[in-house]
Subunit: 347 residues, 2 copies
């Protein structure tokens, strides 16, 4: 699934002939619209577009300020919409992005992906691919209100007839508080677990663990936050495509109920200057994870022609690094660090 | 020279038998003191310790506040002193560190280093090494005053008799303004160039270019700042050891005269809230370089047991990321970006 990250790039380095699936999809959309019989690519695109609108509308109600939307198109097919709210009443920085990418994968990328997807033919020089996803990061102003991150994505490759070859889903959602309220973590995990349990009782425990392992500032021995779920490379060896699409739909639909109650009860709480500073230090840790460890960010930034502002939208508006800062014994700040060093089971 | 970066780590992963050069050096120091006949390891150690004191003393005069010093020792030999001034009158964050590291290099690290140092024997399982250096980053409060970074280091390996095998010097010094004053960049480059020219008229142009190429946020097509010099792997194929040590001494000695006049003329200048915000955005770019591109930082953070607080001392106290920020046409902010996109010759 690492290659999904080229959704951030204009992938002009892979340009060959015009990708036929992009053309086919454009004709299908124009002539038939999108139905349950349409290719998954178009259904996923429609689904994430709908949810971007819905999430943005709900967040605008919470904040009172409006998001600004930027659209861009890619020459090879596809494009994206970035919705950003900066310096709002409730959110210091909030970004809800979608991207739709049609392109070609070069041989070395195919070889890497074969580790997880045996359907890929390692002998071809390049393959058409499609990637789409919704990414979101919300950094609230109030240090009592947690940052939240979400990303759901669909990837597929086509054979030289333009038929779907390998395909998979990836994504997840995780919460990063500066001050830990157990009830918030429990509510967040519970809501996600319910969405998972509808599909497979094994999903939540497996993807919760994967999340703790992935969103980890290994150099500090701390998880980034109190977790959620994370998964990648879910394909036909896991469940059939309809079942997985339905799972991803339920996960994404669980976002608003998992987070809106939390932000509403925290956004207007009083706080001190010291608490604001602690939040700023925790923001610094967020930056460390995203710039040092996150594979998607690294891949995007190191790819020529990437849209840097969309990739780095995940960074907070402000952050702080203080040499040798240590929270007081028995403080709430210390409690948070304990939990980050020893991830808890919340449900 | 990349392996020098293990100076940040406790390298406990390389532990084998106690390194005999560490023991030898400790006896030499105790019984004979350090003279011009001592091994280069001890002369370099003495030299950087002296300069750390001198630089810290001068910066305290500028700031009016005192640095806090932390010392640490390494079980395998060596140790370090971190001097940090945080939230001073003039400096938002200032760190002047030295480290002395004795350890063993594993086979893969030796193989990598052989590219630049043919004296290394690729057949041995591990090699004793020594690394020492002085690193400094100063982030002033006033947006008119530039950030400055400096690092000079010496590295050597020993054969199994404990005799020096390969050795080299690396380092440099570079300036990162938020608001560009040409006279500052010219003075800074001129002072460094004079130190270089005493040794080799080819050094300054060569190392100035290397600096622009290395301290580069490639994902944005911008250098980190207005440069200075950078070099690595300078060994016997360049000049003899005495000549190179003398070069590095002159470079380090040029620091105070290159920077003190600049900070003194900028530290009390009036500035607006908007200028402070622009500085914060530039701080964000500094963080991006250090966390995404800097080889030393990446190496340190990805090595188990590293001293994270010493590595990340280079980060500013505060930073900011604003989506799609663009300076006004014809503004000083835009002028800075132009120069960062098209590095200038200053002397």
């Amino acid at each position: 699934g690492a290659i999904i990250y080229s959704m951030y790039t204009d992938t002009s380095i892979y340009q060959a002939e015009p990708p036929s699936i992009a053309e086919k999809d454009s004709v299908t959309k124009r002539e038939n619209g999108i139905t349950e019989q349409s290719p998954m690519r178009l259904r996923m695109e429609q689904f994430i577009k709908q949810h971007q609108k819905e999430i943005v509308a709900e967040l605008e109600k919470v904040d009172g300020k409006k998001f600004v939307a930027d659209s861009w198109e890619r020459a090879e097919g596809g494009g994206g919409i970035s919705c950003v709210l900066q310096d709002g009443n409730v959110f210091e920085k909030a970004g809800v992005n979608i991207s739709i990418v049609y392109g070609r994968l070069p041989k070395p990328a195919i070889a890497k992906m074969r580790a997880n997807h045996k359907a890929l033919d390692p002998s071809v020089e390049s393959l058409e691919f499609f990637a789409s996803g919704l990414s979101m990061v919300l950094h609230p102003k109030n240090p009592n209100a947690p940052t939240v991150h979400l990303n759901y994505r669909y990837f597929e490759t086509a054979d030289d007839q333009g038929n779907t070859n390998a395909w998979w889903y990836g994504g997840g959602c995780d919460l990063t508080p500066s001050y830990l309220y157990d009830e918030d973590a429990i509510h967040f995990h519970n809501t996600i677990k319910q969405a998972c349990d509808k599909h497979d009782r094994g999903y939540y425990p497996r993807f919760k663990k994967w999340c703790d392992e992935y969103f980890n500032n290994k150099h500090r021995g701390e998880t980034r936050g109190v977790g959620g779920i994370f998964f990648d490379d879910l394909d036909e060896t896991e469940k059939d495509q309809e079942q997985l699409f339905s799972f991803v739909q339920d996960c994404l639909s669980a976002f608003l109920p998992s987070y809106i109650p939390i932000i509403n009860r925290r956004k207007d709480m009083p706080f001190t200057e010291e608490q604001k500073q602690w939040q700023q230090l925790r923001r610094g840790r967020y930056v460390e994870f995203n710039l040092v460890h996150d594979r998607g960010t690294a891949f995007g930034l190191n790819t020529p022609g990437s849209r840097v502002e969309s990739i780095l939208m995940s960074l907070p508006l402000t952050a702080r690094w203080q040499y040798m800062h240590e929270p007081e014994k028995g403080s709430r700040e210390e409690r948070l660090l304990d939990v980050l060093k020893n991830p808890k089971e919340w449900v």
